[in-house]
């Protein structure tokens, strides 16, 4: 594979409006060959519309979409060399599984013998060879999902598009299929654009995540960047489960450096800010939002031993949620609920006051005005 300077897929200044209503407000995304891009966001954020514009199912108002150096935004969907897996699978109910998989090739005039070979190969990869003569109505949800993927795979396109493919499956099957998609991606090295509202799917599958809200790109980066350095409060809150604790605080200068002052049950408590967690400068008296993920708030023994930025705070336990692998403990700080992720075997009871270990190396600060990370 030769190294190229231009990215494999490039979306630049993409806008889409329905009359007055602007659905996509200038999207810029680049993806390398073999990358796995996940578009994630809440309902109505424009992620499915963005996917449809890449597919050519919806026209764009302005901007460009190119794949492999070719602008494709004016091409008919069938000429874009893409394949799409729909949320509903969109299997043709009047055709057999084999017919479904072959339909695209048939429309393109591929000879029957060649089609048979391609079907057999894909069916083997997806382990659906025994289903080829069945109608979609005779298949289970997971099998339909496989057929839908087979229909996309057999075309061997430049770009795969997935529109919430797992949202119709039950929880266990969803996890299995997620793994399978990841395995398929690793095995075939195909470039994929994948839409989901499920942030766990986004984190586990993606090489790049684009978080969207109200038609605007909130952040674009690797899953690690998105998770550890969220660009704004929305991204911080949306990605991760349970979501990040967001606490209003004030910056004050102490003897050893800057401190964060938070209100706890009417009293003021202070936490030292490691200089590494902010890129800009903080001023005395500045209001900030402290963002800290549940796994960075633990019991004392569960705290990360490789850091010296652990701050201990006493807190009253309100609720305990044993989740099997962890125990989530909920307390109150700065007028907000704080979720701490403690070890599974920790012994705490509601009403007790216990020490919470805050790993401030993992904390991020946001500007309450602009909502952006400081």
């Amino acid at each position: 594979m030769s190294a190229t300077t231009t990215p494999f897929m490039q979306i630049a200044g993409l806008r889409k409006s329905y009359g007055e209503l602007e659905i996509l407000k200038g999207i810029d995304i680049e993806l390398d060959k073999g990358g796995f891009l996940v578009l994630v966001g809440p309902s109505g954020c424009g992620k499915s519309t963005l996917l449809n514009t890449i597919a050519g199912l919806e026209p764009i108002t302005s901007g460009t979409i190119s794949v492999d150096g070719q602008p494709i935004n004016d091409l008919h969907p069938s000429k874009r060399d893409i394949a799409m897996v729909f949320q509903s699978y969109a299997l043709y109910p009047n055709m057999t599984v084999g017919g479904n998989i072959a339909f695209g090739m048939e429309m393109r005039g591929v000879p029957k013998a060649e089609r048979e070979v391609a079907i057999a190969k894909v069916a083997k990869t997806l382990q659906i060879s025994h289903l080829l003569d069945r109608k979609p109505s005779q298949l289970s949800g997971g099998q339909r999902q496989r057929v839908a993927m087979g229909r996309a795979l057999v075309r061997d396109p430049k770009l795969f598009l997935f529109d919430e493919p797992l949202s119709n499956l039950d929880a266990k099957l969803r996890v299995d299929m997620r793994l399978e998609i990841k395995r398929l991606h690793a095995a075939t090295g195909k470039t994929i654009v994948y839409v989901t509202h499920d942030q766990i799917e986004a984190m586990t599958l993606a090489t790049k995540i684009a978080v969207l809200k109200d038609g605007e790109l909130q952040q674009f980066g690797t899953p690690h960047e998105i998770y550890t350095k969220p660009a704004n409060i929305f991204v911080a809150d949306f990605m991760g489960s349970p979501s990040m604790n967001l606490l209003p605080a004030k910056v004050i200068s102490g003897k050893a450096g800057l401190l964060l002052e938070l209100v706890q049950d009417g009293n003021k408590v202070q936490l030292a800010i490691p200089a590494t967690i902010v890129s800009g400068a903080l001023v005395d008296g500045q209001s900030v939002i402290l963002g800290i993920r549940p796994e960075a708030v633990t019991d004392k023994d569960g705290a990360d031993r490789n850091t010296n930025a652990i701050a201990m705070l006493e807190g009253r336990v309100e609720l305990v949620e044993p989740a099997g692998s962890d125990t989530f403990v909920i307390t109150h700080l700065a007028g907000k609920e704080v979720t701490a992720r403690m070890r599974a075997d920790v012994v705490v009871r509601p009403g007790e006051t216990v020490p919470f270990a805050f790993n401030l190396d993992k904390a991020v600060l946001f500007d309450p005005e602009t909502q952006k990370r400081l």
């Binding site: 597919a55 949800g141 997971g142």
Partner: protein
């Protein structure tokens, strides 16, 4: 255990109530079937027996002569042809009228739902409006149009009239059916490289059997049973069955052959009955199963 007991109690109706329900249903069924019974038994009697009264009695002498007469020898208008030529006329009219209106309705529905264009809802609204125009209003303009086209008094003229009049309904049927048709299937076919007609013939039409049956039944019954257009726009050699039946029954010369009239009326009603019985079997649900959702 308790659930089983309570269910037993729930489904038990008193024998008296049950008897009452059945009695009522039987009475209503008899009431509805009585006219058919009268027509049938009297079409199988010689005219003599009908003249003696006792319409409800079974024939003393069974005969098929009235049926033969109605079919091939009875006086219709000026010639003793029976209903046969008009029966043929009706079929020559109804088959193309049903086929063309159904086909165009399906295409209209497809375009109005899956190839939306600006103002499509107004177009549909206007087509829908045509369903509510009374027959009588269009007779004179239609006569003018048929005259202009040189189709007055011909079977192709009747086909045109019925196709145009049926189009509003067939479009409505297919439009509503295709509105619920998953658009993702069309989009998927589009990405697969199928064009406008390929998507229609390979994806939509094969899944349209239920609505095709509904449309065919509707259009067939309407066109077959129509009297007004038939009487207005046809001539002696292009009368449909309904007009011929009227001419048979209303002939003012000679004796009224009630047995022949009854036989003719049953003959006229037979095709619609057969369409219902035959196509009803194909009126199956669940053809869309497996298309979408897990």
């Amino acid at each position: 255990m308790s659930a089983a007991v309570s269910q037993n109690v729930a489904i038990r109706t008193s024998p008296f109530a049950r008897a009452l329900i059945y009695a009522l249903l039987i009475i209503i069924a008899v009431y509805y079937l009585l006219p058919l019974y009268v027509m049938l038994v009297n079409s199988l009697k010689p005219l003599e027996e009908i003249r003696q009264g006792q319409m409800l009695n079974l024939p003393q002498t069974w005969t098929l002569e009235p049926w033969r007469s109605a079919w091939s020898t009875a006086q219709i208008g000026v010639s003793p042809t029976g209903l046969l030529p008009y029966f043929t006329n009706s079929f020559l009219m109804v088959i193309p009228a049903v086929a063309i209106a159904t086909m165009l309705g399906a295409l209209n529905g497809y375009v109005l739902t899956k190839w939306r264009f600006p103002g499509d809802n107004y177009v549909f609204g206007l087509m829908l409006f045509s369903c509510f125009i009374p027959f009588q209003i269009v007779i004179i303009p239609m006569a003018a149009v048929l005259g202009f086209l040189g189709l007055s008094g011909t079977i192709p003229g009747l086909i045109l009239v019925h196709t145009v009049y049926g189009l509003g309904f067939t479009t409505l049927f297919f439009r509503n059916f295709y509105a619920a048709f998953p658009t993702e299937l069309v989009r998927s076919a589009m990405i697969d490289g199928a064009g406008f007609f390929k998507i229609f013939t390979r994806i939509l039409l094969p899944l349209s059997l239920p609505i095709i049956i509904v449309t065919v039944i509707w259009q067939f019954t309407n066109v077959w049973n129509d009297f007004l257009f038939g009487a207005s726009f046809s001539d002696y050699d292009s009368f449909p069955m309904t007009v011929a039946l009227n001419n048979l029954v209303n002939s003012s010369t000679g004796v009224k052959e009630y047995n022949v009239h009854f036989a003719g009326a049953i003959l006229a009603a037979l095709p619609t009955l057969i369409v219902y019985v035959v196509s009803g079997r194909y009126f199956v649900r669940g053809l869309m199963a497996g298309a979408v959702k897990g």
